[in-house]
Structures are given as structure tokens and as C-alpha cells.
């Protein structure tokens, strides 16, 4: 029997944002992400399910992460927020189409 088995282990980092993601907190998230990017991580899940508020500075961190991961054939998935207002912000900016989204109903 001639069998070739190859096992690929993909490192994925999940970041859960339970606080506001805004101009005050975005630098901290950016620094955390930078640490993992430098380690070679290219697959991320950003869990926004409990994020109560997000502004354009927070969104800029997500866009930067997406661009850098895609350049290396990586991926960024967003866990869909529960807060309706945050959902609306993400839809207004079409983040729900640009990012791979988890946990969003078809409607």
C-alpha cells in the first residue's frame, strides 16, 4: 500500500473584543495583532459578538489586518456582533461582504 499522508497544522489566533473598539482602544488591539503578525500568524478570527461600540479607528485596525493577511494568503473572519447598532455600522461600510463573517443570519 502506497500512501502519502501530509498533515497541515494551521495556527489561527482568535481575538475576542469585549470592550469598545474605538480611537482610545484601537492602538492596544493593533499592538496585540502586530505581535502575532510578527510571529508569522496569518489566520485570525476577530470575535465582535460582545463588542458594544465600534468607530472608524477600530474599523481601520480590521482593514489593516485583512490587507496584511491577504497579502500572505491568510484570512480574517469576523464573528458577527450581537449589538444591532454595531451590526448596522458594519453593514453600512460593507464589512459584512468584504470580510468572511461568522454567525450572521441570512437576513
Amino acid at each position: 500500500m502506497d500512501i502519502t499522508i501530509t498533515e497541515h497544522i494551521q495556527r489561527t489566533v482568535t481575538i475576542v473584543v469585549k470592550d469598545r473598539l474605538d480611537v482610545m482602544t484601537a492602538p492596544e488591539l493593533k499592538a496585540q495583532i502586530e505581535k502575532y503578525l510578527e510571529e508569522g500568524v496569518i489566520h485570525f478570527i476577530v470575535d465582535l459578538s460582545e463588542t458594544p461600540f465600534m468607530d472608524s479607528a477600530g474599523m481601520a485596525v480590521l482593514v489593516t489586518l485583512l490587507r496584511r493577511c491577504r497579502m500572505k494568503n491568510g484570512s480574517v473572519k469576523l464573528v458577527w456582533p450581537q449589538a444591532q447598532a454595531v451590526q448596522r455600522t458594519l453593514m453600512l461600510t460593507r464589512f459584512d461582504r468584504v470580510f468572511e463573517v461568522v454567525g450572521k443570519s441570512a437576513n
Binding site: 468607530d55 472608524s56 447598532a85 455600522t89 468584504v98
Partner: protein, 147 residues
């Protein structure tokens, strides 16, 4: 147009002072009669004002010391909230050059102004002899039981 409440605050242009504005928006909107979707409306107004003030602090004042005046005016018939901001920066915003971002390839910068325009019904900019004036207006939805 009947006047319900008006309030003006003056504060240093510092990011850590933004939370104070959110509390004031909440206080003022609480006086709007039978506001529909109150939670979402409040979030949207807060986010728009937050984005505007961050822009003023980061771009107009460019991180330098400055002062920001914010005037809120809640009126009815129709129910609407008007917010005017005044800063003393010598930097001019060129509204004519502003372009809507390509959301299929979202930019790292520039989403703030886009959000402001999406979330508010009127967004106007005026250069004055003293600095910059922004005028934001949100027509507030009234619950059907009130109509």
C-alpha cells in the same frame, strides 16, 4: 418648530473627553417625546458626533491643544436634533474634495466622514473667521403611538 432643549458645552480637544459628549447626547435625546428606536438613534448620533470630534482633534488641531464648542438643540414639529461644533483651528476642510470611499476595497482612513454622512440627515461645513463650524442634523423618528 418648537424648542425643547438647548445646551452648549466647551471642552478641551482631547480624545479622553469624548465620553462626556455621549452622556450629553443621551440626556438630550431622553427629552425627545416618544422617540422610536431610541437605542439605535442614540448610538448613531453618538457615533457621528464621536467621528466628527475625533476628526477635529486629529486633523484640524492635529493633536495640538485646542478647544471645542458643541451646541445641541432639540426641537419638535418636526422632532430633530441639531448639533453645531465650533473649533478655532486654522486648518480648512475641503468638502468639495472629499470622495465617498470604495467600500469594496475599504480604505484604512476616511471611513469616519462616510459614517457621519450616512448616520446624519444633514452634514454641513462652514469656514468662519474664527475657525471651522460643522452642522449636523438628525430628524428623529417618533413612535407611531405618538402620531
Amino acid at each position: 418648530m418648537k424648542h425643547i432643549v438647548s445646551r452648549t458645552i466647551v471642552f478641551p480637544a482631547q480624545l479622553d473627553r469624548l465620553a462626556e459628549l455621549e452622556a450629553i447626547v443621551a440626556e438630550i435625546l431622553a427629552q425627545a417625546p416618544d422617540l422610536a428606536n431610541a437605542e439605535i438613534v442614540q448610538y448613531n448620533v453618538v457615533l457621528a458626533l464621536h467621528e466628527l470630534c475625533v476628526n477635529i482633534m486629529k486633523h484640524a488641531y492635529a493633536g495640538q491643544n485646542g478647544e471645542l464648542t458643541v451646541n445641541f438643540s432639540l426641537t419638535c414639529d418636526p422632532t430633530r436634533l441639531e448639533i453645531n461644533t465650533f473649533d478655532n483651528s486654522d486648518r480648512i476642510f475641503n468638502m468639495a474634495e472629499w470622495r465617498e470611499p470604495d467600500l469594496n476595497d475599504p480604505p484604512i482612513h476616511g471611513l469616519g466622514m462616510y459614517l457621519i454622512k450616512q448616520l446624519m440627515d444633514v452634514v454641513e461645513y462652514q469656514r468662519t473667521p474664527e475657525g471651522n463650524r460643522w452642522r449636523l442634523v438628525k430628524v428623529l423618528p417618533v413612535s407611531k403611538s405618538f402620531m
